[in-house]
Structure formats: C-alpha cells, structure tokens
C-alpha cells in the first residue's frame, strides 16, 4: 500500500504563491540589470530597482508566513526550516540588492547585478523546496490545514 503523505507537512497554496511571485520579479530585475550593463541605458536600472522593491514586498510576506509555519511546527520539520532559511537569506540579500540599486548610475554596478543573480537563485530554490513538499490528498486535507 502506498503511504499517504502527511497533510500537516503540505505547503499552503497562498504561501507557495507569495513565494512564487518573488521569482519573476527578481528575475526581471536581473534581466534589467544585464540590459543596463550591456547598454548603459539608465531606464533599465530604474526598472531593476522597482522590480526588486516589488519582490521585497512578497519576500517580506513570505518570510512572515515561513516564520509562522516554523513556529507552528516547533522548528522540527526539516523542509519548513529549509524554506525559512532560504526565505530569510532571500530577504537579506534582497535588501542589500535594494540598497545597491539605490546608488546612482554605474555606482550600482557590478554589485547590483551579482546580488540580483544571488537573490534570484535563492528565490527559485525556496519556491522549489516549498512547492515540491508532499501534497495532501484531497479527502484527507482538513479545513484547519488549508486555513493555515
């Protein structure tokens, strides 16, 4: 008989969405950084700064949610902890990237591009780990789990 995954370990869809939304924003920032580095066209740098700021909004929410999840499981669930660490790292690196993108013109480079790359990879990693968490089967999912 196939073991049924433990529904209490499943990621909340909203948590997963928050985390997943950060990825295209950080990726957009990275692409804009690359475009600026290749063209010196300043508007790309402005785009990057706003995309990263937008990503930081969702990163902050995802971090809060991850902390809540970790508390709820008394810091015992390994996958939850990995997600928490990745999201926390994402928040720190994203904040550094935001500050770096607040520098004027080429002063943001090359550090801005490197930080964009790192935070994009962290975002992808966090989303993959969270979303690949075992899904609860439909009939076993209790309302309580979904609300969480």
């Amino acid at each position: 008989m196939v073991a049924v995954p433990d529904p209490s370990r499943a990621a909340s869809p909203l948590h997963a969405m928050l985390l997943a939304w950060t990825f295209p924003l950080y990726l957009g920032g990275l692409v804009a950084d690359i475009a600026y580095a290749r063209t010196y066209e300043i508007q790309w740098l402005n785009f990057a700064a706003w995309l990263i700021a937008g990503a930081m909004v969702f990163t902050g929410l995802a971090l809060a949610w991850s902390l809540f999840e970790a508390f709820r499981r008394s810091f015992r669930d390994r996958r939850t902890l990995i997600v928490l660490l990745l999201v926390a790292a994402m928040f720190v690196v994203g904040l550094l990237a935001s500050f770096q993108h607040a520098r004027d013109a080429w002063g943001a480079m090359p550090g801005g591009l490197v930080l964009s790359l790192v935070v994009t990879l962290l975002s992808a990693a966090a989303a993959v780990v969270l979303i690949l968490a075992p899904r609860p089967t439909h009939h076993r999912a209790s309302r309580g789990e979904i609300r969480a």
């Binding site: 066209e41 700064a49 909004v57 902050g60 904040l95 607040a102 004027d104 080429w106 002063g107």
Partner: protein
Amino acid sequence: MSRAGLLSLAAAAALLAGCGGGGGEPQMYGPDPQLPEPQRGLLPDMQVADPAPWGEARPAAPQGYTVTAIATGLRIPRQTLVLPNGDILVAEGRGGGAPALRPKDVIANVIKARGTTSVESGDRLTLLRDADGDGTYEGRSVFAEDLNAPYGLALVGGQLYVANQDALVRFSYTVGQTRADAPPVKVAGLPSYINHHWTKALAASPDGRFLYVGIGSNSNITERGMPAEADRAMIWEVDAATGAHRPYATGLRNPTALAIQPGTGQLWAVVNERDEIGPNLVPDYLTFVRDGGFYGWPYSYWGRNVDPRVRPQDPGKVASAIRPDYALGAHVAALGLSFSSPAMGPRFAEGAFVGEHGSWNRSPPSGYKVVFVPFRNGRPAGPPVDFLTGFRGEDGKTRGRPVGVTVDPRGALIVADDLSNTVWRVTAPRGAPSGLPSGVAAPAGAGRP
C-alpha cells in the same frame, strides 16, 4: 504599508542611525584640498536640518558687526539685488519638481522635505526700502509676481534681468520704482526639462552686453540618463540684445551663484559638486570661470579624478578638465556669492562672501553659515573666515539656511535665509569707510580677536 516595507524602513533607520561619527577631518579648503578615496556605505549619509524658530536667537557676526532682520514672513527668499538707490530686490520661490524615478527618490524626498520650509513658493520679487537710511526697511512692496521660481537677478542700466527657472526675462526699471510697470519680456528660454537642479544663477558682463546664466545638472551623477544632461551643468552666455546664447563654460555640476569680480571684470562662480562618494568628497568650490573651460562634470571631479559612476566614460574630456581655484568643503551647498568692498571693514575688504545653505547628506553636517574667502592680488588667499554663523545651533536645531549674499555698497551684507524666510542685514561697524577707496583704514571698532 506592507510588512516588508516596514521592515526595510526599520532597517534603513537603524543603518542611518549608525552612520554618524567618522574620523578626523582632512583639509577641505583652499586651492589644494585633500581628496580621500571615494567611499559609500550601505546607505548614503542623510542628516537633514531639524528646523526651529529663531525666537530671541540671532545669527552671529564678527564683533562690531550688527545683525538685523530687515524682512520676515517672505515666501522662500533666495537671491537679492541691491539697487542703485539702496532698495533691495528679493527673488522668492521654489522650483524643480523632478519626478521620483526610483524607490530611493520617494524615500529621500520625504526625508529632505523635513529640512526645508513648507511655505508656498512666492514666485515674485519683493522690494525692500529704507527711505531714511536708518537701517530699518520700513518700505515693502511686491515689485513683480506670477514669475516662475525666479532666482538670478541683474541690473544693467535701465533693464532688470530675472532668471526664472525656465526663461531669462527682463523688466524696464527706473531708479525709485517700487512696482514693475509692465509684464516681463522674455529674453531667452532656459533649459527646464526635468529641472533636477532648477536654480538659474545670473550675472551681467561689465559692459552689459552679455548675461551669464548658471544652469545646473539634471542629476547627481547622470542617474537620470545622459540625454537629460543636454544643455545642463554649464554657464550660458546670453546676448542681451538678441537672446542668442552659447555655452561659456561646461562641466560645472551646479553653478548656483555667479558674480563679476570688481576691477578685473572676470566671471566667478560657486559650484555645488556631486554626492554619495563620501562625506569629504567632492568639495564645492569657488572658481574663476574660463571662457570655453570644462570643469569635469560628470566624467571627473576636481580636475582629473575620474568618477567611476559615469558610463560611458570619456578619457578625452577628463584630460581637458580644469581644476577649480578654491575648495569650500564638501556638501556645504554654496548658494550665494558676492565680492566685497572696503565698505565692509578692513578685515573683509578684499575677498568674496559665500552663502552656504548647509549639507543634507553629511555627518557631521557642514555649511549652514556665510564665509568670507580672503583674496590678495585678485586671487583667493588663505582659509575661509566665518562671517555669519549660528544658523545651526549647538542644540542641533537649524534656525536658518543662508542662500544669496549681496554686498550693499553702503557697508552691509544682505543675506537671504530660505528656512526662516527672512532677509538678514549684517552692518559693518560704524567708522568703517563707506564708499572710500581701498587702502583707507577703518579707525575704530574694526579690531577683532
């Protein structure tokens, strides 16, 4: 506000708070300032003025000099002009309004607004008159209104020139007039797209044929893009008769005040230099302006020191960059310039007064005073002397911020203060020669420690 926003703001505040202090002060003044290596923390230093009313306090002048508020309740006084009969014209207004391009601009604008006045822009010229010469300016009238952030002022014969933030205009003027008798006539349009640095400084050539207009850059260091810098960071020479212009000197990041040196007839300027590469970079400066000269911005500073933030770079332009004559100190925000005369007393007879609005991005703050740069043989000689201080008190409160300074030939310095919206008059001690040729010593009251 989102939690992330709150968290980033809290982090920003903590980092900002930790940015104080910072080592010994290098030699920041004179012809050969020490230039440290460029540096930039995680966040730029921001320490904006914390405004407070003057109350009973007054700016402090050298012993023997008297400080009087000759006009209060103005609407952002910036530059002043002393007319032939002793009347004083005050240009009032606030310009600019460059859009915020990045999250940084949104945050910085909120912080910087705390250190300035919230009074509505006057967009007018106010005339002050002391009819009986007792030092009280009992007469006050609006000379012209509905201007567009007027700043630079110059009188040439019967023509009063006013540099609005978007155009050079003129009024006809006869001595004694208290109100313009007609709307202004446009002499020339001035670059005003974005107008990041909006002030348009003004001076007239000694023969009155040309007007020199200072036009600031459209960014700190090209962060609004190179195309926005067309016709910016330069001084125009405008033909008073035709309105035709040519760039007279370029690479001057923000030439905020221009003045003709008495005797030589040479054009001098104070220029505000770039931010965000350290508390001691780059010094604002006072310089003789060479016709056709290039002074570095944006590619380099203080001569040939390359600014790596500018791309594409231009080694050819860097090689041609002129070193300015005299450093005033980094971030002091020099906004006023007026050459002195013997009427100001022997100690201040030869040299230039410079109004320093004060820093917003340096810790500890710099500027917030009027200094006197002594000259000898027509060139700056020696360290700057504090002339009017006390704008930023020991308590950390800022009561005023000097902008334009103008020497009144009767022996006074007129100082516009755009924080307390006051015009100050600093009178030389009685006995100082008034209108006498240089070399005649002032007898009493001039000796100071």
